[in-house]
Subunit: 142 residues, 2 copies
């Protein structure tokens, strides 16, 4: 099992196909943004992935940006292949993102997690995340 | 009352001082990131501000980034001067951010709001935002 940070130069048809298929497990109907757009330099995305025998079995992204309240990381698009769950891959991906967050001197990292997703919640808590007394509001434009 | 988008070239000592003072109303103890860093080109921040007679009385920021699930806007640092609340300034700032979100073809806009903040919640709902069944998890690194 290897945890790596995907760079734009790593993208080829195999990577593209594997990530597209993996992401469908999170949301089959959603249009996916092209990888080369996500990894363009000025988009400031950290893209962690887990591979086992050349198969991508997990991904986790972190968008970084600077606002008045600080330099922030926002975790998005965390997916572990359904055949590889319960092996600590989600934790390893998150640890890699947090390592990168510290390297980049971020002030804080934020994520959303569904109230029903008990395993995810307990993972995030064990990594030191605390639940804020806030709701997540969403406006779909497209 | 004017709603404008602050650009890096608009920053001078007066703007810097007024925004610093205004932001202290949200959080007096928090270290504030310098404006020129927030407005650097590759940070992709939309910085809306409301001025009344050359006084900045409200701000709202939106960080934009692209992940697999789409091109997203994240609203942060919404502050209206305590002497100017209840005049619809928060709404006008949000409408300006959403106009910009549409111009930039974002897929969705997200924000957090404290469960206790009734006025804010009702504003966001009236703008079309819906509450997700998710919690906000935060990890402070600094």
């Amino acid at each position: 099992m290897e945890i790596e940070i995907l760079k734009k130069s790593d993208i080829d048809d195999t990577v593209r196909r594997q990530i597209t298929e993996l992401y469908k497990q999170l949301n089959d109907s959603m249009k996916q943004s092209p990888l080369h757009q996500i990894l363009q330099e000025d988009n400031h995305i950290v893209f962690a992935m887990c591979t086992i025998e050349d198969q991508i079995v997990g991904i986790a992204l972190m968008a970084t940006y600077k606002v008045i309240s600080g330099h922030r990381g926002m975790v998005e698009d965390v997916v572990v292949d359904k055949n590889y769950r319960g092996k600590g891959i989600g934790r390893k991906l998150m640890e890699r993102l947090l390592e990168e967050a510290r390297n980049r001197h971020l002030d804080s990292v934020i994520l959303f997690s569904g109230h029903q997703r008990e395993a995810a919640r307990s993972l995030y808590k064990s990594l030191g995340f605390t639940l804020r007394d806030s709701g997540v509001y969403n406006l779909k434009l497209n």
